[in-house]
Every structure is written in structure tokens, then in C-alpha cells.
């Protein structure tokens, strides 16, 4: 860990009964960096994401977060109100299923504005203006600000979830399979959007995916997991072009070449 590390985890261990979900995992994340966690189903990717974001408590180990003032916080020793406040402001969480994250009975503008209102903004005009601005940034027509999310397509819903998450300008975003369940052309467009937003706003992101193409496109660094163990970590190109561990080699070779 260096002086400017944004998020740093050491010695994370977690078992679900007899199943080891995390075995002595260490992860570092620097500001503006995108870290991909890859591996097959059940390898502990999402568990690691939940532990890093404070949603799930590990049996052992520590997660440090550095706030904008440079002070370090132990995420799992934080009082619940502070952690929730962090999730509302400095952090963001993008889920695989946007329907679970959005309020489906509330208009698109209301969904985007919710985090602003939770932060204490009480000016309707300003909230609406910011919501419209963010809809534009995720390439949703501003005229749809008052429409219900149920009238949106799957790709639009995911972009709406991203707008809703980024509206408070978080420094760190956790993404759990953001392109899962979308068809390939929609995926490509969404990946392009995420890449440009993350670069422009200098957001650090932890991205869970089973899709190596997604990791290659978005991530600066990559962590490969198998049965709760980090088997390989390094720069994305380095890991994907020259895999050292047998499991990584298997993963890379099993990608279909179009």
C-alpha cells in the first residue's frame, strides 16, 4: 500500500460453511484505475466485491479506504451510518440487474435524483436539471426524463442505473457484471459509455465480470480468481496475452475467437 492507494485489502478470508469463498486475498486500487475481477461462476468474484464494499463482513482480514482528506478508514470497523453515507456519496454500486437497483414505479428523473435528495438537496428545479444532464451523458433522450423505467429497454435501464449512480460524482464505483444479460451490440455500446465516463470523470472502479473481453476493454489491471484464491494478478494486457497460471491459460484459451 502506498500513500495514495484508494482502496486496499489484506488477508481477506471468508468461508460459507465448508466452502472457502475467499482465501487470503489481497487487493489494491489506485484513484482513477479500473480493476477487473475475473473467474468462473462460484470462484468468489461477487463475494470479494461485497466484502470490499462493506456489504459482507469477512471472517478475517481488513479493507482500508482513503477518504478525500487522505484519512484511512477500516471499512468493516466503520459505524453503519458512516458506511451508508459513504455508499450514498463517495461510492457507487452498479448491479447486474437494473430492475433490482432502480425504483421501477418512479420516473427516470426521480431515480437519478434520489441520491441528490438523500444528500439533502431540496431544490426541485436543480435536481431535475441535473437529472436531465445525466440522462444526456448516458445517451438517453432528455425528453424521457418523466417516463417510467418499465418503458425502457434493458440497455437503457442499465444506462439509467449508471446515471443514478454517478450523479453524486463518486470516486469509487463497484460494478457487478454490468453488461450481463444484454445482447452483444448493446453490450458494446454500454462498454464504450462506461469507458469514456470512467476516463473523463477519473473514477476508480472495481469490476466483476466473467467476460474476458469486457475486462480487456475496460480494465487497467486484472485479478484472476479460482475457488476463492487469487491465482494471478497484473496489468490486463500482460495477464491476458501472457497468462502464467494454468487456470488463467485455460480461461484465455476457452474464449471463442470470432
Amino acid at each position: 500500500m502506498t500513500d495514495d492507494t484508494l482502496l486496499s485489502a489484506r488477508g481477506l478470508n471468508l468461508r460459507f460453511g465448508p466452502v472457502p469463498a475467499l482465501v487470503d486475498v489481497a487487493v489494491d486500487l489506485w484513484p482513477g484505475e479500473v480493476l477487473a475481477i475475473v473467474g468462473e461462476s462460484g470462484s468468489g468474484k461477487t463475494t470479494l466485491l461485497n466484502v470490499l464494499s462493506g456489504r459482507l463482513r469477512p471472517d478475517d482480514g481488513v479493507v482500508w479506504y482513503r477518504d478525500p482528506a487522505g484519512k484511512l478508514h477500516d471499512v468493516h470497523a466503520m459505524p453503519a451510518p458512516k458506511l451508508r453515507a459513504l455508499h450514498r456519496s463517495d461510492w457507487g454500486f452498479v448491479q447486474q440487474d437494473p430492475r433490482a437497483a432502480l425504483r421501477m414505479g418512479v420516473s427516470a428523473g426521480g431515480n437519478v435524483g434520489e441520491r441528490l435528495m438523500a444528500q439533502g438537496l431540496r431544490h426541485y428545479g436543480n435536481i431535475r436539471e441535473q437529472a436531465i444532464d445525466w440522462l444526456r451523458q448516458v445517451e438517453i433522450d432528455a425528453a424521457r426524463v418523466d417516463d417510467m423505467p418499465r418503458t425502457f429497454s434493458g440497455g437503457m435501464l442499465q444506462r439509467l442505473q449508471i446515471a443514478r449512480t454517478l450523479v453524486t460524482h463518486p470516486r469509487l464505483v463497484f460494478m457487478d457484471e454490468p453488461t450481463g444479460g444484454l445482447d452483444v451490440s448493446v453490450q458494446a455500446r454500454l462498454l464504450d459509455l462506461i469507458r469514456s465516463l470512467v476516463a473523463r470523470l477519473n473514477i476508480a472502479a472495481v469490476l466483476v465480470t466473467h467476460d474476458l473481453a469486457v475486462a480487456r476493454l475496460l480494465a487497467h489491471r486484472i485479478v484472476v480468481m479460482q475457488r476463492g484464491v487469487v491465482v494471478e494478478a497484473g496489468l490486463t494486457d500482460q495477464v491476458l496475452d501472457d497468462p502464467q497460471h494454468a487456470y488463467t491459460q485455460l480461461l484465455v484459451s476457452s474464449v471463442l475467437q470470432a
Binding site: 451510518p81 425504483r103 418512479v106 420516473s107 435528495m117
Partner: protein
Amino acid sequence: MTTISGYNFAYLDEQTKRMIRRALLKAVAIPGHQIPFGSREMPLPYGWGTGGIQITAAILGAADVLKVIDQGADDTTNAVSIRRFFAKTAGVATTTRTDAATVIQTRHRIPEAPLTANQILVYQVPQPEPLVKLEPSRAETRRMHALAEYGAMHVRLYEDITRFGQVAISYDYPVMVNDRYLMAPSPIPAFDNPKLHQMPALQLFGAGREKRIYAIPPYTNVRSLDFEDHPFRAGRAPHACGLCGSDTSYLDEVVVDNEGGRLFVCSDTDYCETRRDAGHAGDAA
């Protein structure tokens, strides 16, 4: 009216009253915070005021003068029955006059006449949880109250302004009590919300089915939720009372014939009578 024998004073036994008073003390100590209590079966159905009637029973003394109103009226079934209930079981004096009462049990209204520090207002509450339509889990709403996370309530107001151009909550309009707890003021019209603020009288809220008691102590800040550019406004039918001519009181709309005839009258019957006795008259009088 003669009292009936075989019951304790004001129907409830002393242990139960003591339990309710303990909950009331906690409620007054934490304005707007919901306190659970062991709600009892009462000889009237849920939704008719079982919470309010238990609070009234617990605070009533032999010297008290009781007034009961339902939608502002003293002469509706619910008001008449509860007034008779306490006249029979406690032998207390009852009245329909707001200024003569020491305890006023109410459903859906706050009297028009200003209340004083010598009076207690007891509300009947069907749903004490203001967040219930936004968050179905009680465990989660308790957490939201504990952390004062009330952003979701503003999402509801935002949606109303987006769809209707204004906040469309006409009754049970959510309020912040003492700048800390979000509270459902029971189904009083939003028109009555400003009266909650800095009221000299003690205000007690009882929800019998939901088993919750909460309170607003005298002279407490109570603020209706709003946006800076869409401030709270208390709505009222744009008419004068047909009987007493008041153009400031809250009005009920009454259909009077089959030709679409309408009469607007004060919902507070005591206020209307007092004004008529003083010589005021409306168009239909």
C-alpha cells in the same frame, strides 16, 4: 349519564394504563419517535379509534372534560359513541365546546379554535409509519428513522410535482418533528399541518392495530416536507361556509339534492355553531 358498575375507572385496568403512560412518557421525551406498546382489545373495531381511546383512557382523570370529534364533527356515530363510552365508564363530564374541553380525542381534524396549554389533543392513527408506502420492511424503516435517512420521502414529493405540478398529498402529509423524526400526522388534511407547529397543547398519537404511540410535546417545531422552489401550501376549498360564512375554515362539500346542488360547510361543527351564535351567517343560512 349514570356510570356502569363492574369496570375500572375509564374501562382499562390500572396496570394497562400504567403501561400506556410509560409509552407516553417515552414518546414525549423523543418527539415524533414511534414507541411500541401492548395494545389491548377494545370494545370497538380496529379503524374506529382503538389507539386513541386507549390513550384517552390512560390519561383521563375524574375532573377532566372530554370532547370527541370525528372529521371535525361532534355529532357523528364514532364521536358520539366514544363520548358516551367514557361518560359511562369514567363518569367524566363531556362537552362539544373546544374551549371547555381539557382532553380532545380527534379523528381527521384539528379544531379551528386555537388550543391552549391546558388541553391535550389525542389523535386516532390508522398508519403510524410515514415511510410504509416507500419501504415495506419495518426493520428497514426503523433503520431509516435511526439514521434519519429520509431522502426517499422526497422522491415521492418529486414524483408528485413531476406528474401533477404540485405535491398531491392532501391528507396525512408527512412532517419533520423537532428537525429529527419524520412523522405521519394521522389523516388530518394538509390544511391542518401548520397548526401542529409550536402548538401550546400536548399532542398524543395512538395507533391501536399497529401498536404504536408517538407524541409532539407543546411548543415543538413541526415542519411539513417541501422543496425550496415548491414550498408547502395548505389547500382549502375556495368557498365560504354556507352556514356561518367563514372563509378561513376547512370546508366539507355536501351534496344537497339530485340536481348537482352543493353546500360547503365548516367541517368543525363547534366552530361553525359558535360563529352562528355570534351572529355570523352564510349564504345558505
